[in-house]
Amino acid sequence: MSDRITKKIMLFFPECETESPIVYHLVKDYDLMINIFRAKVTPEEEGYLVLDITGSQENIGKAEKWLQSLGIAVNETDKGVKWNQSRCVQCGSCVPHCPTGALSIPDRLTMEIRFASDECIECLSCIKVCPYEAVASMF
């Protein structure tokens, strides 16, 4: 198991033509462990899926190629929840509402805010409490 890695990715379906049971294939054909954070898939519209995939580097690579062959965009850098640093006033109002510590104050002397995208489970709590629209959802 030591060569297994976990990666958070966002999938974007340009328009939801895919009838293929994606998650089934990812598990079955590529031996991946899937943890879905958030999904928005409406028939005949674009769709999004944010998930953690765990597996060997090789299988993850193959799976991503397969997804791309279906016309699905695999985004490794952008996640469903975005923190806009220039809009954030560093108040900290969101911090008690973030269940994972993705939004946190690592140094209590400077009180500056840090956002760790890979720790975010996309629960959207911060979006509800941020008074400055500094966090937003892509979908």
Binding site: Q90, C91, G92, P96, T110, M111, V129, E133
Partner: protein, 393 residues
């Protein structure tokens, strides 16, 4: 003993020693009060957070033909026009026309007066829609145009209440969530909301208003403004602790400054879910170190500043006067406080990181001679309480 004039001379010759209200704490610990008082000339204080009692007077110049505006909207946010022909006052908490407010509870309040002010300061275009009844000398009855702050003759921020000396901490002891101006509060005291820059906060560093008074020059979102009066609800008579620092709201300041010289980073529209809109504002005030006693005041630190915890689900709205407990800012800033043996997560509405940044900017402006200090032309009241409303009938 130093006078403000002497300190200004030192500033002008580039020799003034200027520390932030955070730096001065260690400095005095290290050097001792007496020695430090001889060295330090100015301590800069700051705060950056929602200040609802804010707004601005705008003058548009005259349209052709002229209009005497009787109703006006800026980006669909109503502005007060019961003053001269093309003057308006826009308030920070004014909602946008057709905002469903809390009809769809909790409302989002995405845009309002504070956001229009932010747009103006950012130099963005804003729409003016105005109506009138028409007069012989001001015949026009309707007007729709777009403008930026540069097109205005004046854009003067006039804020009846800013810089609360201290503030209470909100919790929710009920069994359902509530939405307040101190944020979203989970039931059963799971979290609390506070709003003060603590040891950096202007009036906590000059708790008896010795150097801060009417006429004191302040750094208002990047512009050089001043205190024009005591703030509304200024109520200095209250419980005070270490160094005379109040543990309740206490003093407030009425501030004014030229919006054309402000920086957008420190003028920010606020949307508080379930509550409404407001404006966050950055304020910095330099304190002249006249003597040892003044320096001593500026060494106040978070752990010595207390705040009262109030239940916003019942005691606050009902004005019972009950408090749940007392905490200090060191505890609040740690992210968890303890109340009745229970751990409560703490979140701030005001930005300490932002206040630090402002204190440092002001420090640099004073050091470089760009910002000179002023002496108050009248003191703020030091004894006065806030009356509750008298309701008749």
């Amino acid at each position: 003993m130093k006078t403000v004039a002497e300190i200004n001379e030192k500033i002008s010759s580039g020799k003034a020693v200027v520390l932030t209200a955070e730096e001065v704490i260690d400095y005095v610990d290290r050097k001792g009060l007496e020695k430090a008082a001889r060295e330090v000339d100015v301590v800069t204080t700051a705060t950056f957070g929602p200040m609802c009692s804010s707004g601005c007077f705008l003058n548009f110049g005259h349209s052709k033909p002229k209009i005497r505006i009787t109703e006006a909207w800026l980006d669909d946010v109503s502005a007060y026009s019961g003053i001269a022909a093309v003057d308006l006052y826009l308030g920070a908490t004014q909602l946008r026309h057709n905002d469903p407010a809390n009809l769809d509870y909790p409302g989002d309040f995405r845009f309002g007066g504070g956001h229009v002010m932010e747009k103006l300061v950012a130099g963005e275009e804003v729409q003016l829609f105005a109506l009138s009844y028409g007069t012989d000398d001001y015949p026009r009855r309707e007007l729709r145009t777009r403008f930026t702050i540069d097109d205005l003759n004046q854009a003067i921020m006039v804020n009846p209440r800013n810089c609360y000396q201290n503030y209470n901490v909100a919790i929710n002891a009920s069994d359902k969530p509530i939405y307040t101006y101190l944020g979203y509060l989970k039931p059963h005291m799971k979290n609390c909301g506070y709003s003060s820059a603590g040891q950096l906060s202007p009036l906590l560093n000059d708790p008896h208003y010795r150097t801060i008074g009417v006429g004191t020059k302040v750094w208002l979102a990047g512009a050089q403004g001043h205190v024009y009066a005591e703030g509304t609800q200024h109520s200095p008579t209250c419980e005070r602790g270490v160094l005379g620092v109040p543990s309740e709201g206490a003093g407030t300041l009425a501030l004014t400054g030229d919006m054309k010289k402000m920086n957008r980073e420190f003028v920010r529209g606020v949307s508080l879910k379930g509550y409404g809109v407001s404006l966050s504002l950055g304020v910095g005030i330099p304190i002249p170190i006249l003597d040892e006693a003044m320096l001593k005041q500026t060494t106040i630190r978070d752990r010595d500043i207390k705040a009262q915890v109030i239940d916003y689900s019942a005691d606050y709205p009902e004005r019972t006067g009950k408090i749940v407990g007392t905490v200090n800012y060191e505890e609040l800033k740690s992210g968890t406080i303890e109340l009745n043996g229970q751990k409560v997560e703490a979140g701030s509405l005001s930005s300490y990181a932002g206040a630090r940044k402002i204190a440092a900017i002001l420090q640099e402006e004073v050091r470089s001679g760009k910002f000179l200090l002023s002496e108050p032309i009248a003191p703020l009241p030091i004894e006065q309480s806030m009356k509750p409303m008298k309701e008749i009938g």
